[in-house]
């Protein structure tokens, strides 16, 4: 029997994977992937809890997140292509213009 705990553990594992990706990766594209993993880990959690309580609002929230993630990726990829055209690289360390 798959219980709520299993879903939440899966969500946690996915989230950790995403975080490690965000921290370790230097490639911008990979960073976007990691962000998607983070968002979807949360989606899994929302959907599971929503089902468990029989409350639809969690699943509706997931839809919103998916929609926002899609638009975010569209904008982000556009910027990424632009940056690649300009500098010829998508390495994160090349983006150091805003020094404190």
């Amino acid at each position: 029997m798959i219980t709520l705990t299993h879903y939440l553990v899966l969500s946690g594992i996915l989230f950790s994977l995403g975080i490690v990706g965000v921290l370790r990766r230097k490639n911008l594209l990979m960073l976007f992937f990691s962000t998607e993993i983070l968002l979807n880990a949360v989606n899994v959690g929302f959907a599971a809890v929503s089902k468990y309580y029989g409350d639809l609002s969690g699943q509706i929230f997931s839809f919103f997140i998916i929609a926002i993630a899609a638009s975010e990726v569209a904008v982000g990829l556009g910027l990424l292509v632009l940056w690649y055209k300009r500098s010829g690289t998508i390495d994160l360390d090349s983006l150091q213009m805003m020094k404190g």
């Binding site: 921290l23 230097k26 994160l92 360390d93 983006l95 150091q96 213009m97 020094k99 404190g100």
Partner: protein, 618 residues
Amino acid sequence: MEKYLFVALFAPIVGSLFSLLFTARKKNVITALVTSGLLLFSFVSSLTLLFAVHDGLVLHVKLMDWISAGSLNLPFGFIVDNVSVIMMVTVTLVSSVVNIYSMGYMAHDKGYNRFFTYISAFVFSMLILVMSDNFVGLFIGWEGVGLCSYLLIGFWYEKESASWAGNEAFIMNRVADLGMLMGLFLIYWQFGTFSYEEVFAHVGSVNVGVVTTIGLLLFIGAMGKSAQFPFHTWLADAMEGPTPVSALIHAATMVTAGVYLVIRASDLFMLVPEVGHIIATLGTFVAVFAASMALVNRDLKRIIAYSTLSQLGYMFVAAGLGAYWIALFHLMTHAFFKSLLFLGAGNIMHAMDDELDIKKMGGLFGAMPYTAILMAVASVALCGVYPFAGFFSKDAILAAAFNGGNFYIWFALFIGAGMTAFYSFRLIMLVFFGDKVYKKLGFHPHETYPFVLWALLPLGILSTVAGFFEKPFEEFVTKVLDKYEFSMAHSTELGLIFLTSGFVILVIVATIYKYAKGGFSKQLETMPLFLLLKNQYYIPKLYEVAIFKPYYALSRFAWKQIDVRIIDFSVDMIAKILYRSGQQSRKMQSGNLSDMLRWMVVGIVILLAIAIFYRPMV
């Protein structure tokens, strides 16, 4: 009639504010003219009020509510009655004369405009002091005149001795004012009000011990302002200020504020004769003590300053013995002749290029006869020779002392009168007669501007004739103050008058004779008594050793050890911690996106931890 009160009170402050606009500018005669005009205006209003009060008017005006907090309700109230109107007329008259005189005296000073600002501000404060209908208003004026006195003593602030003297006067007055303040607190605690009227109405129903304490505390304040022992040293040092200031503030008006306080609170002091006795004893002591220091001093202004101290002692004797109207009378006549004496001294100083040593003068009569005559009139009035003003007021004080059965007070004052005669005529003889020492020293004295001499004339006339107003004055003032009954026989009184006058005239003649013959021998100046007097009984030295130096050491300790090591250190510590932590955390802002992401994660973890583990108290 109220408009006269407001004109008298506010004309000086208008003049002060007007000339304040010019303080940063070059000398402008308009400041002097405007302030003099307004002071005269104030004087005329006061005089009008005097006549109105004589016809039975008592003005009591509440200008506005000033402080209203809890049960404390303090109106800005003014009262013009038989006592305060006398003070108003005296103050505005002397200040008008001094202001006009200063136009000549300060003519070449670079602080010309500033000087008139201060003088008018002083007159305003003094009027607040005398006209207020409650103790707090009196205290405000009290502090106001103290401030103006400080500013004017230190008028030539670039001179170190002047700024030192200003500080000395201010600080000594603060010390004494603490006593006064505590007296005021005690009054409020006991009576729940500061108004004279209500306090004096209920003063009989309060515990005598408390009234005694209030009286003593108020008298401590009066001692500071009137420079009575042991607060007397500031007055002699205050002579560092310009001479018109010495005449107005440190002879005629401000220093008499202490006497005025005792007179104003006479209803309170009357209930506690022990305090009155202390006041009279201290006054007697100061009268003789200060006169003895004047005997040997060679500084023109200091001699007159000690004489002021001595005369203040006389006033306190009268006030302490319950003869309040006599104290007020002597206060008034003294204001006339002492300011005249000081202003004459100012003329001499100008003629002698600010030289003050009377042994370097001599024979000035030929060069400045009018000043000489005016000063001689003032001196005779001070000594109390018939028919000059001092004769009436001083004799009344002596008679009051004798009448009360205080023979030792009478005898001390009698000796004091002899000393007064000696030092006054020593001064006159050394300055105006004898060898012309100044010629050898290369001075070219000359008489001052004629308008200055004309300005002095009213004071000269009043010094001569004011005494004849004794009876009307008594009648006028005792409508408010208590009458003082002389119980001794008329023949005794007459005998006393002849005795005192004879003694004084004898001393005067002896002094004139002695100094005409060439004065005392140099040998006298090595006598221990002479040295004791010359060094002012070593009291300034004692204060220096016993108070200034330890206090200086204490202040230095507090500065070096407590302030620098503890307070500064801890304040600097806070700044250093912030600065260092800023320096360290700057490294976070490297501009590298993955570094920022890392920090973001750290932040999220911390926030999560707080969200999970923090449970707010319910």
